[in-house]
Amino acid sequence: MGDNSQNQKVIVYEPELCTGCRHCEIVCAFKHYSSVDLNKSYISILFNGDEGTGAFEAVNCQHCEEPICVNACPSGALGKDEGTGWVTVNPLKCIGCQMCVYMCPLSVPFFDEERKAAAKCDFCGGDPECVKHCSPAALRVVTREEALQLNKRLYLGIR
């Protein structure tokens, strides 16, 4: 990867800060679908209801450096912008095979039955609504370098 990639911006989520207000889901669904149907949101917050630990986790696009979804897409509908690093889907090119839905470990892209195309986080063109409306700042826009350090700590246990 080029030097540029480390300065790209990505969204990170810190479960310790999240209050579970789900404001991010509402604003995301409203921005992209003009609806408050949370199934249409590109981000979703999960609660650990059964254990009652009060822990949260978000299903949000990591805008991976080498995206699984882009490499699995047979029609070239999913692409990664060289400059900004955003992974977006072009619904006009999408053929509805759902490779991305099944191959992404998080299943971030979902199949939008109405538009007959895959849909996923598009970074809101550089100013993500979810980040703007996250009052405890659990969702933040940071550089890829910082995001990697954070994800290493959170998910791989490396400090």
Binding site: S44, L46, E57, I95, M99, F110
Partner: protein, 298 residues
């Protein structure tokens, strides 16, 4: 069999005229219709064969019933085109009553939107017991023309891209049981070739070199069966296993993933999308997979 006494009455139930033009084009094939005893008649009373194009709408319904009654038995009804079989693109329109067989019994369906004149001639000849020389070569789909889609059971990966792209709704996916059945129904097909275009595994081909007329419209199908993969956590079938294999192969070709991340990816692709988001532990595991792939690129 009524040989050499074929009196055809043609009725346009509500066709767009595409099929009618193709029926007219039969004359250009140079078939010796007179010698074969085929006549096109002007009134239903003289006819013994009713050829219908288009679906039935509010206005044509009483007329169709009347015409059918006026033709003396034994009579034969031949429905030409997708609209006559299923209402085609007019499905759901406020004025439509239904396909032909909801009003009168149909003996033969000729599939297409519209069917080629050669196919109509061949179907009529077959149904009416005519023996036309050189019919076989006429029926072959010429280069650059399209006919019904045929799906290869070997190549199909069962991803359902064709179903989602089909503008005519001619492709059905049946997930009942342990298998997924991808069914191309010819009665609705408009030969647009979108399925051929989108198919990632090139399993669909639109050159059909067989008879495309059927006595039973439901039997006019081409289908492929693929095995469904069961979710490792909940045990329910959720996706075609060939699709996952196909995607995995594609990813392996393009990305060099370390062994551990590769194993994690294989594991996550064996879990249904509901189970992937069942709880925070599952999501943590998935994020761990993505993080371990990201580390390699450092």
């Amino acid at each position: 069999m009524i040989t050499n006494d074929i009196r055809i009455f043609r009725f346009d139930a509500s066709s767009c005229n595409g099929c009618d033009i193709e029926v007219l084009a039969i004359l250009t094939l140079g078939l010796p219709l007179d010698e074969l005893g085929v006549k096109i008649v002007d009134t239903p009373q003289e006819a013994n064969t009713l050829v219908i194009t288009g679906g039935v709408n509010i206005k044509s319904e009483p007329e169709l019933e009347e015409i059918y009654e006026l033709i003396e038995p034994p009579r034969r009804v031949i429905a030409i085109g997708s609209c006559a079989a299923t209402m085609g693109i007019f499905k759901g329109s406020y004025s439509m009553i239904g396909p032909i067989d909801e009003i009168v019994p149909v003996d033969l369906y000729i599939m297409g939107c519209p069917p080629r004149p050669q196919v109509i001639a061949g179907a009529l000849a077959d149904a009416l017991g005519l023996d036309i020389e050189g019919m076989e070569s006429l029926l072959e789909t010429p280069e650059g023309f399209r006919a019904e889609p045929v799906v290869s059971s070997i190549k199909c990966i069962g991803c359902a891209a064709c179903m989602h792209s089909c503008p005519a709704g001619a492709i059905e996916i049946d997930n009942t049981g342990a298998d997924r059945v991808v069914k191309f129904t010819h009665k609705d097909c408009i030969f647009c070739a979108t399925c051929e275009e989108v198919c990632p595994s090139e399993a669909v081909e639109l050159t059909y070199k067989d008879k495309s007329w059927f006595e039973d419209k439901e039997a006019a199908i081409s289908e492929a069966t693929v095995e469904l993969k069961k979710c490792l956590l909940c045990g329910l079938p959720f996706v075609s296993s060939r699709q996952i294999d196909w995607a995995m192969k594609k990813i392996e070709e393009k990305l060099r993933i370390p062994k551990e991340a590769h194993d994690r990816l294989l594991w996550s692709s064996s879990i249904c999308t509901d189970c992937r988001r069942k709880g925070i532990n599952e999501v943590k595991e998935a994020k761990k997979t993505l993080a371990s792939i990201a580390i390699r690129t450092q």
